[in-house]
């Protein structure tokens, strides 16, 4: 408890200690003094002022600043009204309970703030630099790129960099939610925010602090509250009008009925005071953003960054999910799976392919070169290659040992008039030919992620109606993958530009209140990510482009997490709606009962601070969603 809260607690206790005997005496009829002095009033004023002087002070001060409809002022009017109609005991009680409620509310908010910030406690405080053989702690902000820093066991990695010496296991759970530590050795990249588990590491930094992963993530999370969900905007707007309306209603209630119906003002003023006590929209204004904040916190605990509460809202309404195949459903690593030579040995075919593709950095070329290296056929002598030419969308034409060699797809073979044997094996098929002679076929395939099938099944369970896969692959390859994963629709042979069109078409098919999510690996799909209602990208441990373009980032590239955040989103929205219905319901009910003279101040105080506290406690549940 903070100092301010402690002082308030003592004031409440002191006031209660004086108030209780007075209350008892009053009810026993012992406070009926036949005196000129208003003894009863003065006695009750002691606890009233002890517990409420600051409210009166603030009300006066804020009115002088032009802030009329503020809580303090309303509480003053309400209690003054009670005092005016000689309900002294009630006035003190209202003030007392209002302050208890406020104290409890500030305590609860503080607690939730602490637990959220503890969860986001990934910010490194210092970096160790070696100077004259001694370690010196400096602010990570002051470390320049290329500096060697030392990270001891148990310390947080302060900046992104490359390990220069040492081996260790690093704990990435704060960033990714992944509990298995990763091994790093000399030459491995290491990202800030992780905790060094065992050994001493020397790291050469590759980024400044402001550009490092940890700073980026912190900024994202802090800015998340500025992207508001519809519900939040509704509450903000609602709060603006709610107070003035209720206050006006109170004024009308105080004066109109007695004038029309005749009779005393006292009764109606008391009813109007009930209105004033309920006129603060605090329960909603605090609990709704708090709920979303907790939801975003719970998601980041799982290693999923959600960039705003609006995306959390959209996730709960996601009905269609579109996957880009490569890198999301599959590993995005191309591996040579089969070599089928046409009448000669495999090694020779692989060598020709590796030579022809030797100068290209296309993933397929990389796979061919890697396969050649793994076959241990000796060093690739690139001087046998005289010239190479890439033919976009077809393949490569290269001159090897004086012969023109073609490597590429069926289109290339047809254009060059090669009599090739079409291959029906799923995967990326590379045909090779020298002049007009068909040399053979190499199949390269991408491996499906082991968790992909389960992820799709779980998404369907979480309420996704349609799963779609987009791919640049050939029809048979794409359809084979989709079928094995249980995906509903596949669109194949797409160029990068076509993906945006497809997503737009799918967006058009959505009903009202239905949202579309697109999952990509963050490479080359920024336009699609931003076009979809929710762009979900693979964070790949700090790929800047992905983090920038997406609305939701899966830090450990695990697509199983999509259904978990959908569950978090759904739960968060459910809790937020509960709070709105509950808070408004109680308030409206007490307003009606108050106007009819069936509610008293006690119920009004409950409808104000009591509801607030309950709503805050309810919101805190979002943090615990798993």
């Amino acid at each position: 408890m903070m100092k301010k809260q402690k002082i308030m607690l003592y004031r409440i206790i002191a006031a209660a200690v004086i108030y209780v005997p007075l209350f008892v005496l009053e009810h026993m009829g012992k406070l009926e003094f036949q005196s000129e002095m208003p003894v009863q009033f003065l006695l009750f004023m002691i606890p009233y002022l002890i517990v409420g002087w600051d409210i009166i002070y603030r009300a006066v001060r804020n009115i002088s600043h032009g802030q009329v409809f503020d809580e303090n002022f309303l509480m003053c009017i309400a209690t003054f009204g009670a005092l005016g109609v000689k309900e002294y005991s009630e006035a003190v009680a209202v003030m007392l309970f209002y302050q208890i409620g406020e104290l409890f509310q500030s305590y609860a908010v503080n607690r939730s703030r602490q637990s959220i910030s503890a969860m986001m406690d990934i910010c490194p405080e210092y970096a160790n630099i070696e100077e004259d053989g001694k370690l010196k702690q400096v602010d990570p902000d002051d470390v320049e790129i290329g500096t060697e820093i030392v990270i001891k066991a148990g310390e947080r990695v302060p900046l992104d960099g490359v390990v220069v010496s040492g081996t260790s296991f690093v704990d990435t759970s704060a960033l990714t939610g992944e509990s298995v530590p990763r091994e790093v050795t000399e030459g491995s990249e290491i990202i800030s925010g992780c905790v060094n588990g065992s050994g001493l590491l020397k790291v050469r930094t590759t980024k400044e602090f402001d550009d490092s992963t940890v700073a980026k993530i912190l900024e994202l999370v802090e800015n998340a509250s500025s992207k508001k969900a519809h519900v939040e905007n509704f509450i903000t707007k609602f709060a603006k009008y709610y107070t003035p309306i209720v206050v006006c209603a109170a004024v009308v209630l105080a004066f109109l009925p007695p004038i029309i119906l005749g009779g005393g003002f006292a009764e109606w003023i008391q009813r109007a005071c009930i209105f004033l006590v309920i006129s603060c929209p605090c329960a909603l204004v605090i609990s709704v953003p708090l709920g979303f904040f907790g939801g975003i916190g719970a998601a980041s605990k799982q290693g999923v960054l959600v960039k705003g509460s609006n995306y959390l809202e959209a996730l709960s309404e996601m009905k269609t999910i579109v996957f880009d195949k490569t890198g999301t459903l599959t590993k995005g690593e191309f591996v040579v799976s089969e070599v089928i030579p046409n009448g000669w040995e495999k090694e020779g075919l692989l060598e020709v392919a590796a030579l022809a593709e030797g100068y290209s950095d296309h993933p397929i070329s990389a796979a061919l070169k890697k396969a050649y290296e793994e076959a241990e056929l000796g060093e690739l002598s690139m001087d046998r290659v005289e010239q190479t030419e890439e033919i976009a969308g077809h393949g490569i034409k290269a001159k090897i040992d004086g012969r023109v060699v073609y490597t590429g797809n069926a289109k290339l073979m047809e254009e060059e008039g090669v009599e090739y044997e079409p291959c029906a094996i799923p995967g990326t098929v590379v045909y090779l030919a020298a002049e007009k002679e068909f040399l053979g076929t190499i199949i390269i395939s991408d491996t499906v992620k082991p968790e992909a099938k389960r992820a799709i099944a779980q998404l369907k369970k979480s309420g996704v109606k349609k799963t779609v896969m987009l791919t640049g692959d050939r029809k048979d390859v794409g359809e084979a993958v989709a079928e094995s994963l249980g995906i509903d629709e596949v669109y194949t042979d797409l160029l990068p530009g076509d993906k945006v069109d497809k997503v737009e078409a799918l967006l058009g098919e959505l009903g009202e209140k239905e949202k579309l999510g697109f999952v990509g690996d963050g490479i080359n799909d920024a336009p699609v990510l931003s076009r979809a209602d929710i762009g979900i990208a693979m964070g790949s441990m700090g790929s800047d482009a992905a983090i920038e373009a997406a609305d939701v980032v899966l830090m450990d590239d695990n697509i199983l997490k999509i259904s978990s955040i959908m569950r978090i989103a759904g739960k968060t929205l459910q809790i937020v709606h509960q709070n709105i219905v509950f808070a408004l319901g109680v308030k409206v009910l007490v307003l009606i009962l108050g106007a009819l003279g069936m509610a008293n101040m006690w119920e009004a105080v409950f409808a104000d601070v009591g509801v607030s506290v309950i709503a805050i406690l309810n919101s805190m549940r979002t943090l615990k969603v798993k």
Partner: protein
Amino acid sequence: MKKKFKMVDLDCANCAAKMEDAIKKIDGVNDATVSFMMQKLTIDADDARFDEIMQEVVAVCKKVEPDCQIQL
């Protein structure tokens, strides 16, 4: 220019919303958020007049909630 400031003793969520509203209306402020949860003010305002604008921001906030202080 975008900058962040810590807000001390920001005790009421409704006040935070009111402050945000008032700050947004200041001439030269492009965008502002007062986060009750983070106890932070994020402000995006004209570079040239930034200090001047910040003085106005402080004055406006003082009007809404005198107990709350912006740490410049």
